[in-house]
Amino acid sequence: MAMEAAPAPRADFQPHIFWAYGLACALLFLFMLWTLAQARRTRARLEYLEERLRKAYPGGGGPGPA
């Protein structure tokens, strides 16, 4: 009985494509989360500093330009 030659094994690129897309999106997502967290922290700091300045100058004036 004649035996058919088995087809040459083909490289499986699915994991590479999965990792490329996954890493691209993960990096973008983490960068966005980090930026949002930084924005929240900075806003809280601004509010705190404004409050301190308001207490230091209750009339609304400030120390003026440097």
């Binding site: 490289a11 690129f13 699915q14 590479h16 494509i17 990792w19 490329a20 897309y21 890493l23 691209a24 999106c25 990096l27 973008l28 960068f31 966005m32 930026t35 949002l36 930084q38 924005a39 900075t42 806003r43 700091r45 601004l46 500093l49 404004e50 301190r52 300045l53 308001r54 207490k55 230091a56 100058y57 609304g60 400030g62 120390p63 003026g64 330009p65 440097a66």
Partner: protein, 245 residues
């Protein structure tokens, strides 16, 4: 009044929240993510699963190319904003330049990571030291990492803005070097271009580039807002320390 000298800048651009601008930033970011996911849909269900030269591994191209083209875009934007800063000395242009470099470095990192994965799939190795495109992109990444290090190392805002602007204008020379690297320095492994002989491939390629551009510009606006808030916080801190409060 300049944000650097206004002790309580209650209506400044930095404080207007995420909803300012023509397109609210939340909508902009969600639109970017939606388009990026739509790109995956096109890659998964529309384009052919193999290409003549590179076979199936060419599918990585649809995530690699958008980041590659957008990192060049954002470094170009940084160069233009920096040149504008040097010409006009506006503080806003410095922030646009700095945030464009941050987003560009992110896009460049994604380009290098996805490119290395593609290289492993297509050539059997993660990196080729003789490939002019790979090496020029790596040099560009290092150059702009240097820009960020320079910004972090200078405390005085005006000096930092001026030095960074000069650096970004000079660093923009990397953009044509990367773009024309294969023509100028010879071809190694890197393909001049993937054979895109089907309409679906061409549309998906440019759809992906546009989708990621929308996402990166949302990040750019967000980073610029954070940098503006940080600068304002420093101005307030300075005003408080001067007043002794």
């Amino acid at each position: 009044m300049n944000a650097m000298t206004d002790p309580v800048p209650s209506t400044s651009a930095a404080r207007r929240g995420l909803a300012s601008g023509l397109l609210p930033l939340e909508v902009h970011a969600l639109l970017g993510w939606g388009l990026a996911i739509a790109t995956l849909g096109l890659v998964g269900y529309w384009v052919p699963s193999a290409e003549k030269v590179l076979g199936e591994s060419y599918l990585i191209f649809f995530f690699h190319f958008p980041s590659a083209i957008n990192c060049l875009n954002f470094f170009f934007f940084a160069g233009v904003a920096s040149a504008w800063h040097l010409a006009r000395r506006t503080s806003g242009s410095d922030l646009w330049a700095a945030s464009a470099v941050e987003v560009g470095v992110l896009a460049c990192t994604i380009t290098l990571v996805t490119g290395s994965i593609w290289a492993k799939a297509a050539w059997g190795m993660f990196w080729d030291m003789a490939d002019p495109r790979l090496m020029t992109v790596a040099i560009m990444w290092l150059t702009y990492a240097g820009y960020l290090a320079l910004r972090a190392s200078i405390d005085e805002p005006e000096k930092r803005a001026r030095f960074s602007a000069v650096f970004a204008v000079v660093a923009a020379v990397n953009i044509p070097l990367v773009y024309f690297s294969i023509q100028w320095f010879g071809k190694s492994h890197h393909p001049m271009q993937v054979v895109m002989d089907e309409r679906s491939m061409v549309i998906t390629r440019w759809f992906g580039a546009g989708a990621f551009f929308v996402l990166y510009t949302a990040l750019w606006r967000l980073r610029r807002r954070v940098l503006a808030c940080e600068r304002e916080a420093l101005a307030l801190q300075d005003a408080l320390s001067r007043s002794g409060a």
